[in-house]
């Protein structure tokens, strides 16, 4: 009992610390935002001040910078650095050529006289290249949908004479827009570097310093920026396949993109309504269901992590005990559930429990104990319906939510405990034997040794893994989707109209609900709502992980 007292105290202390951390961080966060904006404002001010100073103090060098300002590479040419100027000019030309090759500017005059625009003309929409059109599309998300009258014709979905007669696909425009935005950031960065370089080089020439040759320049870039250069390929991949999609889905939360939108027939618009509605008002169902699912998600994440930890601990202790012979054999068999890929075991279990004629029901029927088991489950509160007869509906009966949830946790325990068994076995081996010897001399009993030596040692060593297991389970899509598919469903009467078609199942955790909401609800897909929810999930996970990181000293250590 004393043990539980201590555990309770420990948990209390940890949660107080966490709340304290949150309060502290909330203040720090607000302050951080202020500092961020102040830094931006100050940065911009200083930038202009330095330009002003440069123009005043070194007007001749400034003029070289100005040349590069108007045409990339021009200042470098005047500095007689042909190689540099060539490279900068080349980059600029590549952008220009890409813009022109993908545009229809040359057809514009003829078509404009044939189909004159009376009141409204979207010039970049009709004739722009990939860059101008991308920027236009990103801000407007399209202007014309099927059936609209424009320049004397009707906008169509396909088979048009000219491409501008086709309806806008808001989704594609948004995607292309983000790609272009990233490219533009790169271009602007190069452009600023090019101006600075022209100015700085001219200063050095005037100071009588020797200007490096092409070979030296390449060499110095290679040496000075070696770390950046070797990270570049990886960074580009992360930027393109992780960061940009992240940005995109963040932006989707601020659009009207849901199933009511038929691409080309309707336009997506920028709006903050869905986001503010979820947080502050609008449809109450969005919040109440969200909190229901959130409660189960947190419960599931905590309980699944704790149960696998405890069982893994017990198994590790047992296998380690002196009574057990053939330790390796036992361990080998017990880690088999961990060795089977998670998806396969989950699908196998869904076959065991799923349907009314799954393996479990058949076994129970063979033993003739279906009724006994059902009554037992009803007594302990796992089966809710008072009238259910026949085979047990593990995952399908709306009243059996607790049953399905219990099975989800049990299956997770089956899959997860061997990992902790292995981990803790490893940790047990690192406990110095002297500790136990000292305890023996003081006459410590076995339970005492466990409480004062083994348990604290293992807990300290494995604490980070418990946290990562928690965050992992918080987002453990497969554990729900492959096993129950989110079922059992809610009673239809309980589902408010606003959520018809995108309502969660009763075992759905946030992540699996978001997935079905965005991809598997057919006519009801709600991308914007899903994006809003996933931002909320991100914030929650980020808070927990930041807390964990703040504890993990090794992360902040410098690599020397």
């Amino acid at each position: 009992m004393e043990f539980f007292e201590r555990l309770k105290k420990w948990i209390g202390k940890q949660s107080r610390r966490f709340v304290f951390f949150l309060r502290n961080k909330a203040v720090g966060f607000v302050r951080g935002i202020f500092r961020f904006f102040r830094a931006i404002v100050l940065g911009v001010r200083n930038f202009f001040i330095s330009i002003y100073k440069a123009a005043k103090e070194h007007p001749k060098s400034f003029r070289k910078g100005l040349m590069s300002f108007f045409l990339m590479g021009l200042g470098q040419f005047r500095n007689k650095q042909w190689y540099k100027g060539g490279i900068f000019l080349g980059i600029f030309l590549v952008f220009l050529i890409v813009e022109f090759v993908t545009s229809d500017y040359i057809y514009a005059p003829a078509e404009l006289s044939q189909y004159p625009a009376d009141d409204q003309l979207y010039f970049f929409r009709d004739y722009g290249g990939i860059i101008t059109r991308g920027i236009w599309g990103f801000f407007s998300l399209g202007a014309l949908s099927m059936g609209d009258a424009y320049r004397g014709i009707t906008i169509v979905g396909e088979d048009a004479r000219y491409s501008w007669m086709l309806a806008d696909n808001s989704r594609t425009l948004m995607g292309e827009g983000i790609i272009i935005a990233v490219l533009m950031v790169v271009l602007i960065g190069l452009w600023i570097a090019n101006i600075r370089d022209a100015y700085k080089t001219d200063l050095r020439i005037r100071a009588g310093e020797k200007v490096e040759s092409a070979k030296e320049w390449v060499r110095s870039i290679w040496d000075r920026n070696f770390a950046y250069i070797i990270t570049l390929p990886g960074a580009i991949l992360v930027l393109f396949f992780i960061l940009m999609p992240f940005l995109f889905s963040f932006l989707v939360a601020f659009t009207s993109y849901d199933a009511a939108i038929t691409l080309r027939m309707d336009l997506i618009a920028w709006e903050t309504e869905t986001f503010t509605d979820v947080l502050f008002g609008g449809e109450p169902a969005w919040r109440s269901f969200f909190f229901d699912v959130l409660r189960w998600t947190v419960f599931y994440a905590i309980l699944s992590s704790v149960t696998v930890y405890i069982l893994g601990f017990i198994q590790a202790l047992i296998i380690n005990s002196k009574y057990v012979k053939f330790k390796k054999v036992w361990r080998l068999i017990l880690i088999l559930p961990w060795a089977v890929p998670g998806m396969v075991s989950l699908l196998v279990f869904s076959n065991i429990f799923g349907g009314t004629h799954g393996l479990m029901n058949n076994i129970l029927a063979d033993f003739g104990i279906v009724d006994n088991v059902r009554e037992f489950l009803r007594t302990i509160g796992l089966i809710g319906s008072p009238r259910e007869e026949g085979n047990i509906q593990w995952f399908t009966h709306p009243d059996n939510a607790n049953l399905a949830r219990a099975i989800v946790l049990t299956v997770n325990l089956w899959m997860g405990f061997p990992y902790f068994m292995l981990l803790i076995t490893g940790v047990l081996g690192t406990i110095p034997q002297e500790l136990y010897e000292a305890a023996d001399i003081d006459g410590g009993s076995a339970p005492q040794k466990f409480r004062f030596i083994t348990f604290p040692w293992v807990l300290r060593a494995t604490a980070p893994v418990i946290i990562t297991t928690f965050t992992f389970n918080f987002n453990n899509f497969g554990a729900i989707y492959f096993l129950t598919g989110g079922g059992p469903r809610y009673h239809t009467a309980d589902v408010p109209n606003a959520l018809r078609g995108i309502e969660p199942g009763q075992t759905d955790i946030l992540i699996s609900w978001i997935y079905t909401m965005a991809f598997e609800s057919g006519d009801h897909d709600a991308y914007n709502l899903a994006a809003v929810y996933s931002i909320l999930v991100f914030i929650m996970i980020a808070v927990v992980s930041l807390y964990y990181l703040s504890k993990l000293k090794s992360f902040w250590e410098e690599d020397d």
Binding site: L237, P245, P341, V348, N351
Partner: protein, 291 residues
Amino acid sequence: MIDMKMLKFKKGLAGTLIHIWLIISVIICLVPILWMLSAAFSDVPHIGRVPIIPNITELSLTNFEEIFTYRSRSGQMFPDYIRSFLVTLAVATISTTLVVIFSSLVGFAVTRFRFRAKKPALLLMMGLQMFPGFMGMIALFIIFRVFGWLNNPFFLALIYVAGAIPFNTFIVRGFMRNVPKSLDEAAAIDGATNLQILVKIIVPLAAPIMGFIAVNAFMGPWMDYILPSILMPNNETVAMWLFRMNAPDTQPHEPMWFMAGALFVTVPIMIVQIYMQKYVTYGLTAGAEKG
């Protein structure tokens, strides 16, 4: 004397209880796996009727024959299952190669250099690991369609590579910290360039961790369902095939084939996992968890 006997009895009792517990755990661990075996080698028409213990006298290879010959469209060169297997193999091979190259480059930069963007970059990578990955799926789908990359294993592999880099950076960082810097410093004094240090010294030293990363990268695609289900609609991977055999609303719905197909990929994965168990303690430093 009585005390000694008592003690012996107590010890015997403890031993027996522990062994009973162990036997029960072993049975619980083995039953689902045995049942999977049993179902894979059985030709019982309904999956719920497959016995738990494989019936040695009635072993049948029907399921394997079916999956190795079934073609959803006639005139297809490979049967569906083989085809999905080859596609996944291609994805896994490409992503393993690139993951090893890029992770060692990034890991080298992060552990052996000081540069201004380092801390923000590490923080960013931490943050990226927290975001529910597939919410970027709509964006990835659009990018893939705009560039015509849908159904292309190479670009799917690129996503796996990008996804693996943040995590691997921390793994490599944790490992490289314990590799003494004196070696590459000595080489630098002898006039070795950064690139030479990387190829000749760091890579051989980091070989064990690179092996770990490579195995992980190779195993990933086999059991990933969400990404390919959206980005490879007409070019199934093994995970998609497995899922489809189980889903009641797609054709063909054949749980028995699933058991055979799953067994076929599970056995090699299990062997690798068991061999890799000594790496589990990396979880302590990097937070590795099996997905």
